[in-house]
Amino acid sequence: MGVFFCAGSAGRLAKKANPAVGDDILWNAGMTSRRSRTLLLMLALLGIRFLCCLTVSAQESKAGNLTGQAKRGKELYQRYCIGCHGVRGDGQGENAPYLDPKPRDFTLGLFKCRSTPSGSIPLDSDLFDTIGRGVDTTGMPRWLPLSSHERADLVAYVKTFSDRFSEEKPDPPVKIPSETPDTTESIQRGGEVYQSLKCFECHGEKGRGDGPSAASLRDSKENKIVPYDFTVGTRFKCGVSNQDLYRIFMTGLDGTPMPSYLSWVTPEQAWDLVHYLRALQGQNATKPKETAHKDLMARR
């Protein structure tokens, strides 16, 4: 919107700068000074354009040293994303009826995989990572065939669907302190944390996703949603590493019933819980081959 506004104003001023509008009192001076004025105006317009680019950050994304542009992202979106996420970014693409869970509705500005606390918009790098990582157990594939620059462009375009990105600033990311030793004692303590935080209400006593509240769960669009079954050992929605698991638990998955436990546990307790959840996965656990942000950046 900001860009259009600028272009409009610039157009109006440029029309005045046209010597044909000579009877305008503003332009009744001699030819020489008219030229210099025209030059001045052109410089001014250039300045406006430049400043426009600075102020319209809502049209851009930052992921590492990449700057994504919504204009380029729009073309990519119309080629690759529109089928599920829809023309308006509301998750109502033509494939949506066949998908469970449903494609994300970008107009809500709500995202599962964030490094920021519950209620905050994500960082650009969070969206960038999600595009490259895909969302396991959902229809969202890993978009690694697209270059990292193209993924950054897509982030810029996806952000234009919600006013939240132009009106709000993301909260600082949740800190993930270094991991404590993964010992039998830590796993045991983690089991106590699982009980005291009542994770079993949804995820079940044995982590099978069959807790007493599981059947009544709905996401923010009132679609049915099931809690994660730790025992099947698939990748988590927002990553595979222990750090990812720590972050999921601390930030919550906004738009789903998974809340943020940030206010309730110490980092030590959270690491104990991570070790316990890993133990629930048993032999099925995906080996946490790191798909961290830096690896996603490194692809192409």
């Binding site: 503003l26 001014a44 406006i48 132009s166 009544s216």
Partner: protein, 277 residues
């Protein structure tokens, strides 16, 4: 005309354009910005919200989970508190507010409406009013798991595994927020209104409201109700207890608008009458 005037005008034009550009982003968000001014000899608006016509079916749900905590009075079903009408017709929990007021007194909404408790698996109070930018303080008095899942103007999801600890939740955007509990207490529901000015009131059990310190003038006054009908019910099976649970979805919010003239130091009266249709 001397050339410097033109230069001046060009610079002025540039400045205006820049100002417009830099303000544009905020203008969209805060076009209805509220300005705090000293209100001397302001007027008062009082009135009631009353039900007209036959009483509708008041939605109730069975208490199917944690009955020891959630159902201390051994009720068969729980009133969802979506529609509270006293015998003589007063409608509680309706929000009455001035529309399009641009300036007036400083924020003085009751602190009690900015504190939410989860008690016997009810949200107390049922309607909350929080100034934009302030925190809603949330706690649970129950020794069981609750989660406060907020969606709407603010989206947030905070669990309450432990009792009696206040958790502040920032209310950044103005608008309506729906609250629900994902810990199986499907009957729990409440609404938060995040507001930009203090001329809001929640009707009491008699349907009465009062707005004070209103600068003299003519205003539009609106009554807002969250909506009381259950538009769909979905039966789900509680795995642990093998009890069938009904998860309700509610009808849309409703509003009624009137005009009111406020005179200095005087009380004006407004009566709202709401009904099924």
């Amino acid at each position: 005309m001397p050339p410097f005037i033109n230069t001046k005008r060009a610079i002025l034009g540039l400045a205006i354009c820049l100002a417009a550009v830099s303000c544009r982003g905020q203008a969209a968000a805060q076009s209805d910005d509220y300005k705090v001014v000293a209100v001397e000899n302001g007027g008062t608006i009082t009135g009631t919200v009353r039900w007209a016509g036959p009483l509708p079916k008041i939605p109730r749900l069975a208490i199917t989970k944690n009955t020891d905590v959630c159902n201390p009075d051994s009720e068969k079903t729980r009133d969802l508190e979506r529609l509270v009408i006293e015998p003589n017709g007063g409608v509680a929990n309706t929000v009455v507010f001035l529309k399009n007021i641009s300036q007036g007194k400083a924020m003085d909404l009751p602190v009690s409406l900015q504190h939410l408790d989860q008690k016997a698996c009810r949200y107390v109070p049922h309607i909350l009013l929080v100034p934009q930018g302030a925190n809603l303080q949330v706690r649970s008095s129950d020794p069981i798991l609750h989660t406060v899942h907020m969606s709407g103007a603010v989206s947030n999801n905070i669990p309450f595994p432990f009792q009696n600890q206040d958790i502040p939740v920032a209310m950044r955007r103005a608008g309506v927020v729906d609250l629900k509990c994902n810990a199986g207490h499907v009957w729990m529901n409440a609404e938060v209104l995040i507001v930009k000015h203090p001329y809001y009131a929640v009707t009491d059990e008699h349907g009465s409201f009062t707005l004070t310190g209103v600068p003299p003038g003519e205003y539009e006054i609106e009554a807002w109700h969250e909506g009381w009908r259950i538009v769909s019910e979905e039966k789900v099976l509680d795995v642990a207890s093998q009890v069938e649970v009904t998860r309700p979805m509610y009808s849309a919010q409703l509003t009624w608008t009137k005009k009111v003239v406020v005179r200095a130091g005087q009380a004006s009266e407004v009566q709202f009458s709401i009904s099924e249709n």
